[in-house]
């Protein structure tokens, strides 16, 4: 328990530093939000609007330190502020509109990719030189080495555009209203998810698989495995309870980190498949110097990564008695 309490305090301190960096880092970028919003119209917005825009965003100015303390006190009240690029929509509202899609797609993809990858890794190590080890492993590793956007565009072009098996964009058929009780809407969501999900899976399984296989091989050489086999335990029991349980520990940390980063979205997936999500929200916030929105997104990522790590710590304690 002392271990977990110590970790918790550590994460609290880390969160505070992250929040502070969240505030100062974006402000070190060149360019201010009003001018950039203005410039993004590329001369189509009447320059006469500039003064009124500055008046609207008056709150952006003021000493940096003062802004920092306002930011901290707002944060403690759960107030992320108002977005600048979509003024005056609250940052929380913008984030909540896209975060659920990101969690659904990437959360599912990460969990599936980890589970499948680890399972295949176990099998590959158990039967070294077998079909899983000599065919699937190199194929998935090679897929993982291709640039992601290239695979994504290839799949979109072949299966979406040429063959027409899948829709070429969006999270659901936009002619339908969002209604989770409507079976037609649900099946549309599933159809739209398949292509991006497949692409994420085939490009990410390889690294989990390779990591797990290599850990397994190390563990399989341990004396206690020989001991377990000598005791006459079933192969399955030795493979999962003795070998995999020990070999999975390093992969678990990586998995916790990936789960945390899910919140940040997958920019390339979103750009290629026109899928809603946090990646594009963050890109837009950075391009538009939308400080409150950037802070909000970074805060979510930070908290998610810290939380995921904390959960990984707890799982460690459960799986590995030495950590207690």
């Amino acid at each position: 328990m002392r271990f977990l309490a110590r970790r918790f305090v550590f994460y609290l301190v880390a969160a505070f530093f992250a929040i502070t960096i969240n505030f100062f880092l974006p402000r070190m970028m060149v360019g201010d939000p009003v001018q950039i919003m203005f410039a993004q119209f590329q001369g189509r917005l009447d320059p006469r609007a500039l003064d009124s825009l500055k008046a609207t965003f008056g709150f952006v100015e003021g000493p940096l330190l003062e802004q920092y303390f306002t930011y901290l006190s707002n944060l403690l009240q759960g107030n992320l502020g108002l977005s600048i690029s979509s003024f005056p929509v609250p940052v929380g509202q913008i984030i909540s509109s896209s975060v659920m899609w990101t969690i659904r797609l990437l959360g599912l993809a990460t969990i599936m990719s980890f589970s499948i990858g680890v399972l295949l890794g176990i099998l590959a190590a158990w039967r070294r030189g077998g079909r899983v080890d000599s065919v699937l492993l190199p194929v998935f590793t090679m897929m993982g080495a291709f640039p992601f956007f290239w695979i994504a565009m290839l799949f979109l072009y072949v299966f979406g555009f040429l063959l027409g098996w899948f829709p070429i964009g969006h999270a659901y058929n936009i002619a339908l209203r969002v209604d989770w009780g409507n079976p037609e809407f649900l099946s549309s969501v599933v159809r739209h998810t398949l292509l991006p999900l497949t692409v994420i899976l085939i490009t990410s399984i390889g690294s989990w698989m390779l990591g797990m296989r290599n850990n397994m091989i190390g563990v399989l050489a341990e004396d206690y495995i020989v001991m377990a086999q000598a005791k006459g335990l079933s192969d399955r029991r030795v493979m999962f309870v003795y070998a995999a349980r020990n070999a999975i520990l390093p992969s678990l940390t990586g998995f916790a980190m990936s789960l945390g980063f899910v919140i940040g979205g997958a920019l390339v997936v979103e750009l290629v498949f026109a899928y809603p999500g946090m990646g594009f929200t963050l890109l837009n916030a950075v391009n538009g110097r939308d400080y409150p929105l950037m802070q909000g997104v970074f805060l979510m990522i930070t908290l998610a990564v810290l939380a995921a790590n904390f959960i990984a710590d707890i799982v460690y304690v459960v799986l590995d008695p030495r950590a207690r």
Partner: protein, 570 residues
Amino acid sequence: MPKRTVVFVIFTVLAVLLLSTTAGAQSSIPRGGTFLVSEGQQAAFTSNFNPYAPDPTRWTQGTMYELLILYNPVEGGAYTPWLATGYEWSDDLLTLTFTMNPDAKWNDGTPLTAEDVVFTFNMIKANPAMDRGAILGFIDSAEAVDGKVQFNLSQVYTLAPEVIGGNLYIVPAHAWADVEDPVTFTNPPPVVASGMLTDVKAVNEQVLEICRNPNYWQMGEDGLPLPYVNCMRMPVYPGNDPANLAAVNGELDWIGNFIADIDATFVAANPEKHHYYFWPGGGPVSLYMNTTKAPFNDVNFRAALSAAVDYEAVTNIGMYGYTEPINPTGLGPRWANWINPEAEALAAEMGLGKYNPELAAAKLDDAGYVDANGDGWRDLPDGSSLNFKVQVVNGWTDWVTSVQIMSQNFQDVGLNAVIDVLDFGVWFANLQNGTFDTSIGWGSGGNTPYDHFRNLMYSGLIGADGLANAQLWGRWTSPEADALIDAFTKTADEAEWRDISNKLQMLAVENVVTVPLFPGPTWYEWTTHRFTGFPTREDYYTQGSPWNVQGRTITLTRIHCLPDVPGACD
């Protein structure tokens, strides 16, 4: 008359009547349908239907909240009456009176009157943060006088109709009077508005859908309220690639995006139904030179740069042939009838705006820019070495290619010029702060070339913070130009306007204020899978780009579904 004849006559009359009514029904315009629009990269839609928000939800302006008069971009300064039937100046040019259209009404049936206009003005006056057109700089007050709105000006400013007509979106007094802070008001649906599309069906992270106002006050040719279409649907596309793929796939009806190699991609996918026209009516894209720095403070050097650029290569290779080299006065096709032949002749005499590397080299030699230290590059007249950057925005591929061509052109005449590809924010900050050598940049539009000249040469555009606003990036100014630009706003006489414009063109050419490259192409593609009536290359009745407020409003009065296509009119 025998009975049978009477029966025959009656039947004949009935048959004729029947035929004529069916014929009439056939010639009436088909109604219904939802058209799909894409107008460039778009993040998740947020709900903000306040036309005075810094960046309102798309299609809030023009088709939801309307303007008094519409300046049709293709009609060179003529306006289309809208909520107002027209305007009149008083003799002293201090009172501007708009006559309201008595038919105008809100979607809830309430008449839209001069009082609503006065309410809108007073709201802006109380909240200068909403003053997108800076109208408070010249209007004192507004009052409603029997169906007319009278704006009392604080100073003579003859561009007032254009500025009011382009920026004053009329909001309903009866619905907005109780709004506590109109600056941060997001006007959640259902909205009270007067435009053609007011019924918001969806606004979320995937799509924006706004449907017709059944009570719209302007009638179509069939005597029923406009528009002929039911709904506008705009999907979110986080980048140009997915939007263009959907366009090639025939999923979209109306598009305002850049598409590379459009004939081989978009048009080739369906040559009969996929169309585009990039009207070269955008502001002049130019090479801006920082005239506060040597050697760009030397007019001879600037003139040499103008002669060194291969304009045909820039427009044909850099811009995919989507536009053409601009007239050396800097006035594109939009202001073709404003071009001063004298300024054109002067430009020709100076060798501006025409690719002539020998002339450029000769000009540089004459002005003393020769290779003094023998490193192969020309140096400054005082012998110190000369090298400069041409900056451009990262990811704007057409401009990046154009700048690559230009820096090669400059190297060909012995100038050590390199391309500098920058992040958008940094690029723009450099322009405004004057921390650049040369850069490609956009220009201004407008009904008269007034904004173009003002944004290029008016010293008042240097802000108190020292930033160069509008396109004053090159920072070339002169008291003469300032006086002419001011004089433009003091007369409503077109002959005087033309005289001033002629003089300003002479100044721009004589001093090589910028190197104008090409008129900005306005991205516009349309498909005739489901709808028709769009502006075409032959009948370009307004700017087709769906992001243009005036253009999309006028287009919306004409487009309708194709009844023979299954599902188009649903």
